[in-house]
Symmetry: C2
Subunit: 662 residues, 2 copies
């Protein structure tokens, strides 16, 4: 609406300007200025072309169809199939050397994942076999569809805890076991659907909205929370809180101190935890010994199980795993809720768990792709991960993703392709078929120790320090997420992380920076006078750079900020009895786009400046901006000759006029 009422006044305004700009332009032309290049006005783009280019940059920024260009139809079909199942492509170049690397890596991560799986299933309030199931089917699916060579697929600590917390808010896992299990598969199904949908519609960028800093804080907090939960198994406490915040857990621990702690459990747990941490330390100090830390968990399990078996420590109150169902994954298609009140709940939980799982997998995928310098199509990866979870939800698995710790081991053990996942999957298969009875006497304390030693790696203090050094706002997000998880709950931490990340985006959008420029001595370059204290301002001219696209969300702020710079400057000059400002040059280089609100703001700025007898001059508007300045007629309002290629050009045209008038 404002536009309309404006136009009442504009009729007068424009006339006024034309006289003004004519007189000043005649001034300019009489001067013998150096060569001044005109500001380019790009040819008008067709509406359709403009639209497709936006769509392309938004959804197909990585140009996924590049390889399809100029190919025959049948070749395109083959490429399409290969795009869905990358194994068909890299499988053709597979050879024995690669297989050697993969089999060693596969066996290593298998030895690591089996005890972890049993422990992680507990975090999700599930029986141990569901952890193993989840390391059998999903890695196989991923191996066929995924394109990361280093990721190790399976249940992970953070997602297990998150899923467990969210699920038990809806259904009690002890009293309503069957429903709880059904809701788990429902959530897993929708987690997969969410992931695949994002991938198919190429909306993968949504996970970029969780900033690196927020992830570091969230992961650290989750690691501590998971570690605290292990105190139950580690100390042999029977009655343990079901909340996850540090205060509830600590209250549980200390109220059980007098009668609930079991010293045999503590001795077993502590000794093996020391062993695990020492192995980890060894592996870190000497990269060649990484395998020590990789197989330490399995060794601990074997030794402690054997020890309990011969001493019958379970009769002294040492809790053991007991029964793990034998045999591979039963079908769970009929257990997913496709109607009723739990459908929506499962969907909601699935979306959250799916996104977090995606964030973890994408971070891993990108990291290793960058290290080995191969391309990874993020959206294609999401389809693979989604398909893997959908298939998983139908075969009694819960949400799986890439594991930070196991992927690093996989990489260091020399994996070459996703075949290492297949090897791991086969080992898990054999375990399920034949070895589950052997875990009967495994003490829970060992599983707790293994989980503690695994999640220690998620606490990345160095990253937090680096974040503190680089960006304080990021650090607030990091700490917000961390303390939210530790002191309230994992969902609240996640919410805080997301909110702070969003707040930062909004801040960037609504309050862009502006700077006053000055001339750097011995150059024709104009730069921020705060950064370059030796830069000098040109008398009678104020040069302001606007550091953002001018959109409705900031147009009003930018206008008012420029006027505030001007007022501040005028007051200073007045105090110092210096020449008054006659030209305001807006350096538009960083202004990549402008919308209707932005044009209105410029018009208002122009009119305000006119009332103060100051000429508005623009320097270096980009192609899009130039186009819009013309289509809105603002270019002719201020005068084409007030738009320059560089600040230097603008100043050289203005300053002769200044000299004349003084």
């Amino acid at each position: 609406m404002p536009l309309k009422v404006d136009s009442i006044d504009e009729g007068l305004g424009t006339k006024d300007i034309n006289i003004r700009s004519l007189s000043s332009s005649s001034h300019c032309q009489t001067q013998n200025t150096p060569y001044i290049h005109k500001v380019g006005v790009p040819p008008r783009q067709k509406l359709f072309k403009e639209f497709t280019s936006i769509v392309k940059e938004t959804f197909f920024a990585d140009d996924p169809l590049r390889s399809f260009k100029d190919q025959s139809k049948s070749r395109k079909f083959v490429l399409g199939i290969q795009a869905i199942f990358p194994i068909l492509e890299w499988g053709r170049y597979y050879n024995l050397t690669k297989f050697r690397g993969d089999i060693i890596a596969g066996l290593t991560i298998a030895s690591l994942c089996i005890p972890q799986d049993i422990g992680y299933a507990k975090l999700a309030n599930l029986k141990p076999q569901y952890g193993l199931y989840s390391s059998f089917v999903p890695p196989l699916v991923y191996a066929f569809m995924g394109s990361s060579r280093d990721i190790a697929i399976g249940p992970v600590a953070v997602v297990s805890l998150l899923l467990g917390t969210l699920l038990q808010n809806e259904i009690d896992p002890l009293t309503h076991q069957a429903e709880y299990l059904r809701l788990t598969f429902t959530a897993t199904f929708f987690a997969g659907i969410t992931q695949a949908t994002l991938g198919i519609f190429r909306l993968g960028f949504v996970i970029d909205f969780l900033s690196h800093a927020a992830i570091v804080g969230f992961m650290g907090g989750a690691a501590i929370t998971i570690g605290l939960q292990q105190l139950k198994g580690f100390l042999g406490i029977q009655n343990f809180t079901r909340k996850t915040d540090i205060i509830s857990v600590m209250r549980s621990v200390f109220s059980a101190a007098h009668h609930g702690w079991n010293w045999q459990t503590i001795v077993i747990g502590a000794s093996f935890l020391s062993f695990l941490l020492f192995a980890k330390y060894l592996g870190k100090r000497n990269k060649k010994l990484f395998w020590v830390s990789a197989i330490a968990p399995l060794i601990s399990v074997i030794l402690s199980t054997f020890f309990v078996y011969i001493t019958h420590a379970e009769k002294q109150g040492v809790q053991i795993v007991n029964h793990i169902a034998k045999g591979i994954n039963p079908s769970s298609v009929d257990k997913i809720y496709f109607s009723g009140q739990y459908l929506l709940k499962g969907f909601r939980i699935g979306v959250v768990a799916g996104l977090i799982a995606l964030t973890e997998a994408t971070a891993i995928g990108r990291t290793f792709a960058a290290m080995k310098d191969y391309q990874l199509d993020g959206n294609k990866e999401m389809v693979a991960l989604g398909a893997m979870n959908v298939v998983g939800s139908m075969t009694s698995c819960y949400v799986t993703t890439g594991s930070f710790s196991r992927s690093a081991v996989n990489y260091m053990a020399g994996c070459q392709t996703a075949v290492s996942n297949i090897v791991m999957s086969l080992v898990v298969f054999l375990t399920l078929e034949f070895l589950t009875p052997l875990f009967k006497y495994t003490p829970n304390a060992i599983l707790a120790a293994i989980i503690i030693s695994a999640v220690v790696g998620l606490i990345d203090i160095q990253a937090a320090i680096l974040i503190f050094k680089i960006d304080k706002f990021d650090f607030i997000a990091c700490m917000g997420a961390f303390f939210g998880v530790v002191f309230v709950s994992i969902e609240i931490g996640l919410l805080i992380a997301a909110l702070i990340s969003f707040a930062k985006i909004f801040l960037q959008v609504i309050r862009p920076r502006t700077a006053i420029l000055g001339k750097i001595p011995r150059t024709a370059v104009y730069r921020n006078i705060q950064q370059y204290p030796d830069a000098t301002q040109v008398p009678g001219v104020l040069i302001i750079r606007v550091d953002s696209a001018i959109y409705f969300s900031n147009s009003n702020y930018i206008k008012e900020r420029i006027l505030r710079w001007l007022t501040d400057e005028q007051e200073q000059l007045k105090a110092a009895c210096q020449q008054r400002i006659q030209f305001l040059i807006v350096e538009m280089s960083p202004v990549t786009d402008i919308d209707t609100s932005g044009i209105i703001a410029l018009e208002e700025l122009y009119r305000s400046l006119q009332k103060r007898d100051i000429q508005l001059v623009l320097a270096n508007p980009g192609p899009v901006v130039m186009h819009k300045l013309h289509s809105s007629d603002f270019a002719s309002t201020i005068g084409e000759d007030k738009i320059f290629l560089t600040v230097a050009d603008a100043v050289s045209t203005c300053s002769p006029k200044l000299a004349e008038e003084v």
Copy 2:
């Protein structure tokens, strides 16, 4: 997490680089390059100072405390009181000349507002007197607290319709009249609280999130919807749909065509509508005759009432206003729901209605402030509007705000200060006390005609055309809001407008532009080669400008987009058998900020380039970026001598080296 795994590799990476940068820096130094100014590293800001400056720019961007600076305590107190009640400041300079302008303007808008109020109350499903109440108390409150000189306060069409629609979704206004009224006051109360809260906490920028284009579309759609609703009164239809979408309304209208239309009503309505539209046209063509259009509604009311009174047309089925309660606003403090199920509902409706009312008032305030060139503190305005609605909710008023049409009339009638609102308020007071019985025979058709002629002005086709010309994305938002309101409902239209506005912000944040630069002939200036087709690229060097701050939301995209530019360029060069690219210069002028994710992306970019044997060079990083490049040690990773003040400097340092190697 990625940081950590990265660091495994980085150890090797860094060593590699150091050798590299040493050898290349020695190259650079042996050349006799022209004077090259160093890139400024600003002094490290204190954490606290940095934080306060962010807070200041975000919440106190307009520097509202400027006038308080260097004042005595008692003076500060006086200024503080004046800030809350601006009337105390401008009232001291009030004089007879100003009063002359105000009294004429006040009488004019009073004559306009009385019939409108009666009609608008109907849109909100309220009895006519509530419209008049709302033009009595709120304008008085605003006159004391507001700082706009031109705004005319009262009920407005769009907010009335919005409020009516939202309220009747909760309570039926016919069967539960008392509860409906109570919920109305509850919503009004919370609308005021919302507005005042935003103002007090200086969060006024939230209303900037509804873009100008979305408002134009929303207003146009609302105008059409309101016009369609008037067909009920205009055609004298008894059974009318309570939905607002065009299809339901049209079905209502045509199903009533055979028996439900009242020809007497239509004749009265149509003749007066023609008169009103003609008066409007006259006022528009000749600005001096604006008063004709301003008093035409009152004249219509008087004439038609008199006509019905003498002909007793109400016995022929012409619907009339009938009874309007006499006397001024009764108290409604005890009617506001402060507990129970309606508290939350009233709150929700109040927030939405309050925000829309705020958007309208702010747009008006800004427009007229810009036209008369006075400053308006948006946040202070919000406090005034909020206070006015809170007081209103306690004195039987519903949500009021600034009216577009009446404010324009106020301005043209020569109002000088908010005293014109006081004059209007007094006229409404007299009307309530003495004149309400006179409206008994006023036909509803006249009110319908007045509303139609008022909302016609909200349809701003020229603004829509301008939006189409300037920005296609804005136009989509505009049309989305328009069709959403017209074809679905006013809430859905609002939601669409907000969503499209947000989508635009996100698009800006996640997909910033990048451009390849070339040297403009006869200058040392490097510009986008798309905008300047005569710009030439330097052989062996690729110059890419990144047009946005590098944040977590776009860091990965930017990295991959740069690599894609590089790949495209390399393929072209290969096809043309030209010199291969050895330097990639990233022009960072528009990169105003970078966060941890951005630094990581730069590191990954640097490593990818190394593998391709290309040297990364940065040109003109700003103060914040420079600071973070140093604190993260990235500056020393790529080498301080790879960071230049300008692209020209970077090229002049790189190209001798190229010449050497060729």
